[in-house]
Each structure stands twice: as structure tokens, then as C-alpha cells.
Symmetry: C2
Subunit: 287 residues, 2 copies
Amino acid sequence: MTRLALNTATTKYVTLAEAVRVAADAGLTAIGPWRDRVAEVGLEKATTLIRDAGLSVSSLCRGGFLTAADAEGQAAALADNKAAIVEAATLGTSELVLVVGGLPANPEPGAAALPDGDRDLIAARRRVVDRVGELVPFAAEHGVRLVLEPLHPMFAADRAVLSTLGQCLDVAADFPQESVGVLVDTYHVWWDPELENVIARAGREGRLALYQVCDWLLPLAADPLLSRGFMGDGYIDFPTITRWVADAGYTGAVEVEIFNAEIWEAPAEQTVATMVERYTRLVEPYL
Amino acid sequence: MTRLALNTATTKYVTLAEAVRVAADAGLTAIGPWRDRVAEVGLEKATTLIRDAGLSVSSLCRGGFLTAADAEGQAAALADNKAAIVEAATLGTSELVLVVGGLPANPEPGAAALPDGDRDLIAARRRVVDRVGELVPFAAEHGVRLVLEPLHPMFAADRAVLSTLGQCLDVAADFPQESVGVLVDTYHVWWDPELENVIARAGREGRLALYQVCDWLLPLAADPLLSRGFMGDGYIDFPTITRWVADAGYTGAVEVEIFNAEIWEAPAEQTVATMVERYTRLVEPYL
């Protein structure tokens, strides 16, 4: 289990201290905190707390939301992402995950499109490239890599106009390897007919920054964001995808990141125990 | 409105006779029936009923569900699709839409995966190619084209392992143009970063068999299949995609196919009137 990491979104309702304790007790060696859990205790204390438990930080979730069309929204996004870069560097992780944001037709995720809202997907994608370009020098100064996360196409309207791993690699290609990477989250990419090829390409191009695992459950939850489950409970073929990631030369952390109302209600120890069992059976042997 | 067609799924609760009457009264020239509405009145009567109203048939929905791993399931799928081919030919349409089916992990759409279910996506996709190959000679004899429909990736587990237009074109490439085509349904493909290129490719390769339009609504309906809406009510940029379809040389019907519980409850005349208004404003000028 030297590569298994707990993303704090999986144990959403516990504090960072509690998540760290549960992860360390279960024998994990890394944790991937969300920024809200870090902010709650303060950056310095969060850093100490994780380090004192003997854990490393696999990634920081998340920056992004870079698609605003107006100058004010763009300036706010840059400021927020610079803060996130500093947080990642302080926490001691090089990997800052970016969820790049959706269409301006309604900036509120999950909400109906505004009648006269901006639906120009191509322009929104272009703005992501522009904003990433503006952040790269700052990220490089801090030794942090901006990790582009393709989100499942069902989130293209409201959460991320980057929808495939190939598209993220195309964006990354303009920037240095050490400053822009990509993430494979099984939930978001498992369906992609090009997946084997693009994972290999990500490895070849030195961009594979993080591997996150969780399953695709049906029926979809009322909020589809919460339709993620433990590996083995859904439709994803973890041995196959994990082999592709391993064959691409990935040797980093494997984060379990599950948004699921039922799992959130369970005791964190139980969640981590199940996570470890599923990882040991369905992921680790294929790494 | 010479190219606008009513897909009967848009007016789900009315009979074929009623849908035909409403379409003809609104000045439409074509209708795309689903097989259940045809079966209800019988194939011969359905054919006469549509012809007598002066309408043509833009497509027949739908065949498919070709991913069964067992011999019995495969034989049943072939028999059902041959019946659909005969129905299409009798109705006077060359276009039979295929929704190819999901993973065998649970053959029931929308249901949770069975614990020991088959999650091999690559094998399921291979079986689609095999079944299409077996159907092509029969389709060719009847002058019918098998129209591969990429479904949105959120349906990859349970409804269609063909998830992108490019993937459908790759499958089609092994077969004659007149026997295997592809369909652009805005709901399923609008998010695809390769969309402009693949629509152009579909035109170049002579595969563009049908253009279906409806919008992507948020929040997603509890059953995401029903989250389709009138053009203009969601996040899709119809002028842009319609221009790409036109530039690809497509000159056929534009079907409106909306699954939406609220729209189904409305009077069919009202639904068709709204559909005409939206088409006239957001689609037709760009064709």
C-alpha cells in the first residue's frame, strides 16, 4: 500500500486531522487534501499535521475555474490559483489539480443555462489555455505543476470544458513538462475509446502527474457528481486501465477520491478499510 | 421547414396517427417514427398512414443492442435487427438508427453492475463490429443503411459502448458507405473537442446519415436520459454545430428528438410549435 493515498473528499465530513489519523493508522503513506480542509486549520498547521503523521502529500485539490469571459472574473481566477500554488508548495506537493470550469452560460455549476448566456465552448477552451499560460511562470517559480483534469463530458457545461485526456495533453503540449501535467481519474475517462493510446502518450510526453481511482455507479445519483463509488461496485475495468497507467511508466500515488453521500455518512475508518481492500484486490496487482 | 422532421419520441404519448397529423398540420414534411409506435398500428398501416399524410420517413428508431456476450443473446439481437431492417425498408426510409448497447455487467439499462458482471469494454466494442458485419449484407439487400449513433459517454456503461463520432466512423470504415453511416445528435456529441474535425470527416467519408437536434439541460433530470430540451433552453451552441454539419455537405433531414417528461405532458401541437420556432431561429439559418 505504499502508493495508496486518501483524497480527503472521500471522507468529506471529517477534519484534516481526523483524515490524517485514519490514513496513517491504516498504513497509508500519503494524503491528497482539498483546500477547504487545509484552510480550516490554516496552511502552516495543516503542513505540520500531515508531516508529523509521517504522510506525504500526493496532490492538492483544487485550483481552476479559469473560463470567465470578463476581466474581473479572470483576475479573480488568477489570484485564487496563485494562492493555490503557494498552498501546494507549502504543503510539499508538486501537484496542483485544476478543474478548469464550464461555460459562462451559467457560472453556477449544475444550474440551468441563462437565456442569453455565452455558449461558445471553443472560446471557453481557448481562455483555459490563456489562463494556464499566465499561471505557468508563477507555478514554475514555486516548483508546482498545474495538473489538468479532464472531467467526464457530462460536466462539460458546468464544471470543466476539458473533457478528454487527449485534449488536456494538447493543451499541456505548449508548456514545459514540469509545469503542466495531466491526471487520469478513472471515473472521468474510463469510457474513452482512445484511452489506452492517450495514457501511453501521457507517459511518453512526461505528463502523467496523478492517478485517481473510483468506480462509475448506476443508476446515476440525483447529483451525478456523487455517483462515484468504491472500485468494484460499478462498471469500470480497473485491472485494464491500471495496467495502461503502469505501462505508461507511472510510479506515483494512487489516490482514491469518492464523492458519495452514503460513503460520507459512514465512519472514516470503515471507508478507508474498504478502500484498502478494493485497492489491494483490483488496482495494486496491476500496477 | 422543408428539412425539419418530428421524431415521435418528442411526442411520446400520442399515437403515430396523431403525431403524423400534428407534423403535417405544422407544415413539416418528414417524421422519424420509433418502432413501438409503428408496431402499435402495424407496419403496413403505419406506412400508409404516413404516406397518405404526404410525409416522408426521415429514419426509423431504433435497432441495436448488439453487445451480448452469449450466443443466445447474439442470435436474438440479429433477429431483432433484421426485423428492424425490414420495417425501415417497408416504411420507405434508408436510415435505421442503431443504439448499440452497453456492457454485459448488467444488461438492464440504468441498473447497478452485477458483482461478477463482465466489464470488458474493449471486448463489448469488438462484438459491436462483429454484429454490424453480420447485419450489413441483409441491410444492403434491403437498401437500408445501419446508422451508428454515438451516445453521450454517460451512457457508455448501460446503453451504448460507442461514445464518440470518431469511434463510429472507425467502425463504419470497414463497411460500404451505403450500408453503414453515422448520426450526429447534438445532445450526445456537443462536448467533443474533436467535433468539428469528425463531422467534416463524416462528410468526406460519405457517412453522415442523420442530424438530430435537442439541447443539454441542467440540472440533469433524475433519469439523465430525459434531460434533453428544446434548442435554446440548454448549453448547446446550435449555430456553430449546425454550420459544421452544413459544411460537411449534409442535405438531409433535421430531426428533433427530445425525451423530456415535461414536454411529453404538453399537447403535441404546442410541442411541435415550439420546436418549429426554435428550429427556425437557431438551426435553419445555419444550414
